[in-house]
């Protein structure tokens, strides 16, 4: 089932890339998508980690928030960079996570890194914690508020 | 099939290389290499005969017009080079079997022949193509496979030699392709013939002058013109003997062909020689090569290195023939290409046989080897005489033309430099011959026995050829004459 879903997604990916809808290319795309998805059974990417399609609907709600967050952080870091005094106070902080699945955990870690001002330096899955390098006290504070953690966990859903 | 000979000239060795890579068995790989090496000269000779009979042979790859596609084009000049390169391959093939088996570990023999045939493909391709960029591709095919061949040498220094050659060879090839790119930008074509037609309109512009410089320096690196020769001695000294023979006999020669093609065909004699100081500059470097490299050769203790430096010096004579840019001088240069290929090929083959039998490289360790391997070392004497340029060998014919060309120009001092340089050759050849023949045998020499027939035959074939062509060089001279007049040299 997941293989078929992956094949479908890949086929859409193909069509978006291609822009040419000749029979030859469309059929080739379909065949390529199916073969690639099937190959995933051997290479191990056609599972719930490699193709977490069920997260897509709630992901569509999370991502815009992330983009906004990243943009705001970028602005504040840009201000720091352009400040003649370079007002930074770098620190390493350990944060706890509440995600259940690996995909959610990684999404949180990557979201932290994507937002300027914080970088996930170490992902310690067994303990469910992340070590984060923060550029400023404010950036660290933003993490401690735990909003991003909550939103990612929400994206994971109940299933 | 006859009209497809130009394509087959390159395809046959290419397919041979691929087959070698697929079969992976040493004996089968050698057999493939040998068969290919015996087919390619047949094709080359047929092509040359066609050229001499009915004129230039042109072949359009894919049927495309030369303005947009790749053209293979054979005239007297590259016809001669094709025959030389493929002929040397044919002679090397029987030699290679025992030599490669002795010097290269069994698991890599097929790889050796794959690279060997790829190198052959590249060299034949450079010679036959009428497309400047295609020539670059073939140049790199031959170069990359040469690096791989050198790295197969048994000493660890072979690796370093291959690396150094790779660095310098890549710089040279890149210079070349930059030059080609500049011409391409200015003329809109990569076809050598079309370039020649169109370059007149832009010939004194900065990019074209830069292109001339880039191409000349780039190819000079490849042909090891002093002082751009530093890669050559180690490469020749540490490569497996068969690879050394092949490279020494063919690789630098093809590079010189390319230089001639660009200087006289593309840029044109009228421009390069009349308007620019190419002759004096190239003459200075050639003479420097002849003297400096030969002098260094005198002081080498390793026989292969000695003859490697000798190659750098001998290349100087060829480039001198190019530099003087007259019909006579080019004849001298082209005949020297042939003569040096035969003599140096024979010498390196003989050294390969000696290495196989005695495991010695140093001249001091090879004392008295003439007594144990008289037939091999007699051939060394003959080839050495040709290298010196003793009358009756082909080496004399080329030097004769060079000296005459110098006098024709009124450069009597150059004539004296040319002949004086032969004396240095006498010294290092004499040193080797004296050690081999007139000294008490060393331990290594005592353990040696005469080379096998499969090696003696090719060695003597080359030695006899140097004498035969020294007594009757009308064929190469005639071809060279035709080539010179086609290039517009008088």
């Amino acid at each position: 089932m997941r293989v078929l879903s992956l094949a479908l997604v890949l086929f859409v990916f193909w069509l978006l890339l291609s822009g040419h809808f000749t029979p030859f290319l469309v059929i080739s795309g379909a065949v390529a998508a199916i073969l690639t998805a099937a190959l995933g059974l051997r290479l191990g990417y056609s599972d719930e980690e490699g193709h977490p399609i069920e997260l897509l609907p709630r992901g569509l709600l999370y991502w815009p928030w992330l983009v906004k967050e990243a943009a705001l952080s970028a602005l504040s870091v840009a201000r720091v960079i352009l400040d003649p005094r370079l007002p930074i106070s770098p620190r390493l902080v350990r944060v706890n996570t509440t995600q259940r699945g690996a995909v959610g955990y990684v999404t949180y870690a990557n979201s932290i890194t994507l937002t300027p001002g914080t970088i996930t330096v170490e992902a310690d899955r067994p303990t469910g914690t992340l070590v984060v390098h923060a550029l400023t006290e404010a950036a660290a504070q933003g993490l401690r508020s735990g909003e991003m953690d909550r939103r990612v966990t929400a994206m994971e859903g109940s299933g | 099939m006859r009209e497809h000979l130009p394509a087959l000239q390159v395809l046959v060795p290419l397919f041979g290389a691929l087959l070698c890579a697929l079969v992976r068995r040493p004996r089968a790989a050698w057999l493939i290499a040998a068969v290919v090496s015996w087919i390619v000269p047949v094709i080359a000779v047929m092509l040359l005969a066609q050229v001499l009979g009915t004129g230039v042979v042109s072949y359009h790859l894919g049927g495309w017009d030369p303005s947009i596609g790749i053209e293979y084009r054979v005239d007297a000049l590259n016809g001669l080079i094709l025959v030389l390169v493929s002929g040397m391959a044919a002679v090397i093939a029987p030699f290679a079997r025992r030599s490669v088996a002795a010097e290269v570990e069994t698991g890599r023999v097929a790889w050796f022949y794959t690279m060997y045939l790829l190198a052959l493909t590249g060299l034949l391709g450079i010679a036959i193509t009428g497309d400047a960029f295609n020539a670059f591709v073939f140049l790199e095919i031959s170069s990359l496979s040469s690096y791989a061949l050198i790295a197969l040498g048994s000493h660890r220094r072979a690796l370093v030699a291959a690396y150094q050659y790779l660095v310098l060879g890549t710089i040279g090839a890149t210079f070349y392709v930059i030059g080609v790119g500049l011409i391409y930008v200015m003329t809109g074509t990569l076809n050598l013939g079309l370039m020649a037609e169109r370059i007149g309109a832009v010939q004194s512009t900065r990019p074209v002058l830069a292109a001339l410089a880039f191409i000349t320096v780039g190819i000079s690196l490849k042909l090891a013109l002093f002082p751009l020769h530093v890669w050559l001695p180690n490469a020749y000294a540490y490569a497996p003997s068969t690879a050394t023979v092949f490279m020494a006999a063919t690789a630098t020669k093809v590079a010189i062909y390319l230089l001639v093609r660009f200087l006289f065909s593309v840029f044109g004699v009228g421009f390069v020689i009349a308007d620019l100081p190419v002759t004096p500059i190239l003459t200075v470097f050639s003479v420097a090569a002849i003297f400096a490299a030969a002098t260094v050769a005198v002081f080498q203790s390793d026989a292969k290195r000695m003859f490697a430096y000798s190659s750098v010096a001998q290349v100087g004579y060829i480039t001198l023939g190019v530099a003087l840019a007259t019909a006579t001088s080019l004849k001298g240069g082209l005949i020297h290409i042939v003569g040096h290929a035969l003599a140096k090929g024979g010498l390196f083959m003989a050294l390969g046989a000696v290495t196989m039998r005695s495991r010695a490289f140093d001249i001091d360790d090879l004392c008295g080897i003439g007594r144990r391997m008289p037939l091999t070392m007699a051939a060394v004497v003959v080839a050495g005489l040709s290298l010196i340029g003793v009358p009756g060998t082909i080496g004399f014919v080329s030097k004769w033309y060079l000296v005459v060309a110098a006098f024709e120009r009124g450069w009597w001092w150059l004539a004296f430099l040319i002949v004086a340089s032969s004396l240095i050759t006498v010294v290092y050849i004499g040193r080797f011959v004296e050690a081999a023949w007139f000294r008490e045998p060393s331990a290594a020499a005592m353990g040696a026995t005469e080379a096998p027939v499969s090696m003696l035959v090719p060695i003597w074939l080359l030695a006899v050829a140097t004498v035969f062509l020294g007594l009757d060089a009308r064929l190469p001279a005639g071809i060279a004459e035709q080539a010179a007049s086609a290039l517009g040299l008088r």
Binding site: - | L385, I388, G389, V390, P391, G392, V397, K399, W400, V403, V404, A406, F407, E408, W412, A415, F416, V419, A420, S422, L423, V426, V427, G430, E434, F438, G470, L471, D472, A473, R474, A477
Partner: protein, 487 residues
């Protein structure tokens, strides 16, 4: 047989001898028979050719064109014919002598010795009969290379050092000076063929002609013109028969023959005399004659003294040719023949003395004449011929050289020739005289067999006899030369 066939035979016979000799390496008698057969056949062929030439024929043989303009071709003319015949005749004698000498001295590498010797004769014949400069140059270089193993025959350090000097001086001069000279000639004249009257008439300025002549005269180092003579004394380390035939006859005569040939057939006597381009060479040769003679006097080693004598005598040949007069050329040619006979006799004697008594120094020879009367008698005849005194044929060559000098108005040269003859007397005559009349210091005879082995005696007798014959019948040499010089 046609002239062409004879020319071919003259080259093929010694070549075949060289190739067949190694086949009999294990059978010395057979091997030497092959050599002797070769010498006799060659002489016969050359005599046949000589008779044609004396009959006015000028046989020629075009072998091949290396490239257009560079031909291997032969053309017989009197001077070359004479040189070839003398060399070949002396090869017979020397071979006979060699057999005795090599066996008596238990020399090693005898097979190689005979092979190289025959090869040297191929080269000499090729030089003598060459029809153009390229062919001459070809065989000239070949001669250098095949005689190199003979020079280093003993493989001792000094032999190898001498060999190196030999090779480097001869090859050096021929490549650095001679080859450019030939190339220059080709460019200026458009041909390399030898032609009566020369090929350079009105092609070069007098200065250029003089320079070209210098290139030839010094480039042909085998002519041993001072200061390019050092290789010759050094080469004396070779076994004596080698010194005898090669370094008294074949090699050095090839050198002066080359010079004469170039002057007569490349420059042209006429061109040379009207341009005055040869004047300097006359004086250079004269200098060479005097210097070498004086050095010869200082040498105690017999072979070294003979070598310097040779250097001096070669100067006569060059001088005669450089005079560029009719009699000068004739004298020059005669000097080639008479000196060959005289000097080979002296070397034969030197070899005999070494073989029997192991004496090499002049000072050791006092009193020895009484134990080796035949040897020293031959020595005396040879010496007289070289000095130019009766009953030696050398008288005639000196005579015509003086005539030539007078013709050219070179009175100073006449004086030089006179002084030189006195010097010759001073360094040559004391040797036989002290041998006959002096008293030995210590044991002269060494308690051994007195006179030389028979082959040696036969050889030296033959050559000294020839010296005498030339005194009484100079026409043998004179007539062909006269016909050449009047062309």
């Amino acid at each position: 047989m046609t002239g062409e066939t004879l020319i071919a035979l003259a080259l093929v016979i010694p070549a075949a001898t060289a190739l067949l000799t190694p086949l009999f390496a294990r059978h010395p008698n057979l091997r030497e028979s092959v050599t002797l057969l070769g010498t006799v056949l060659l002489f016969a062929a050359l005599l046949a050719l000589l008779s044609k030439v004396l009959g006015g024929a000028r046989p020629a043989l075009h072998v091949l064109d290396v490239v257009p303009g560079l031909a291997v071709a032969f053309a017989v003319e009197p001077l070359g014919m004479l040189f070839a015949t003398v060399a070949s005749g002396l090869w017979i004698v020397t071979s006979l002598y060699s057999i005795g000498y090599m066996r008596a001295n238990h020399e090693v590498r005898q097979t190689g010795y005979y092979v190289a010797f025959a090869a040297a004769i191929v080269a000499t014949v090729g030089i003598a009969l060459a029809g153009n400069l390229f062919t001459l140059f070809l065989f000239y270089e070949m001669l250098t290379l095949v005689t190199y193993p003979l020079v280093i025959h003993h493989r001792t350090p000094e032999a190898k050092a001498a060999g190196r000097l030999y090779l480097m001086m001869l090859l050096g001069a021929s490549t650095v000076l001679l080859l450019p000279a030939i190339a220059w000639t080709a460019v200026a004249a458009g041909t390399l063929d030898f032609r009566p009257g020369g090929i350079l008439a009105e092609k070069l300025s007098p200065t250029a002609l003089a320079m070209l002549l210098a290139l030839f005269a010094f480039g042909i180092a085998k002519a041993a013109l001072v200061p390019l003579h050092f290789w010759l004394p050094a080469a004396m380390v070779a076994p004596t028969p080698v010194s005898a035939l090669l370094h008294a006859v074949a090699v050095v005569k090839a050198g002066v023959f080359f010079v004469v040939k170039v002057i007569v057939y490349v420059f042209g006597v006429e061109t040379l005399s009207t341009s005055g381009a040869g004047d300097w060479l006359v004086f250079a040769a004269a200098g060479s004659i005097l210097i070498a003679s004086m050095v010869a006097m200082t040498r105690d080693n017999l072979k070294a003294r003979l070598a310097y004598s040779t250097v001096s005598q070669l100067g006569y040949v060059v001088l005669g040719a450089a005079l560029a007069t009719h009699w000068g050329i004739v004298g020059s040619g005669m000097q080639i023949a008479t000196h060959a006979l005289g000097k080979i006799t002296l070397f034969f004697c030197a070899g005999a003395i070494y073989t029997v008594h192991h004496k090499t120094e002049v000072s050791e020879l006092a009193g020895l004449g009484r134990v080796m009367p035949v040897t020293f008698a031959a020595f005396l005849v040879g010496a007289l011929s070289i000095i130019g005194l009766p009953p030696g044929g050398g008288l005639w060559s000196k005579w015509y050289l003086v005539l030539g000098a007078l013709d050219g108005g070179q009175i100073a040269i006449v004086a030089v020739l006179m002084i030189s003859s006195l010097l010759n007397v001073a360094y040559l005559l004391p040797i036989p005289l002290r041998a006959f009349f002096g008293t030995a210091e210590g044991e002269a005879t060494n308690g051994r067999a007195a006179e030389a082995p028979l082959p040696l005696l036969l050889a030296m007798s033959a050559t000294s006899l020839a010296c005498v014959i030339l005194f009484f019948f100079p026409g043998i040499v004179f007539n062909p030369l006269q016909s050449m010089a009047t062309q």
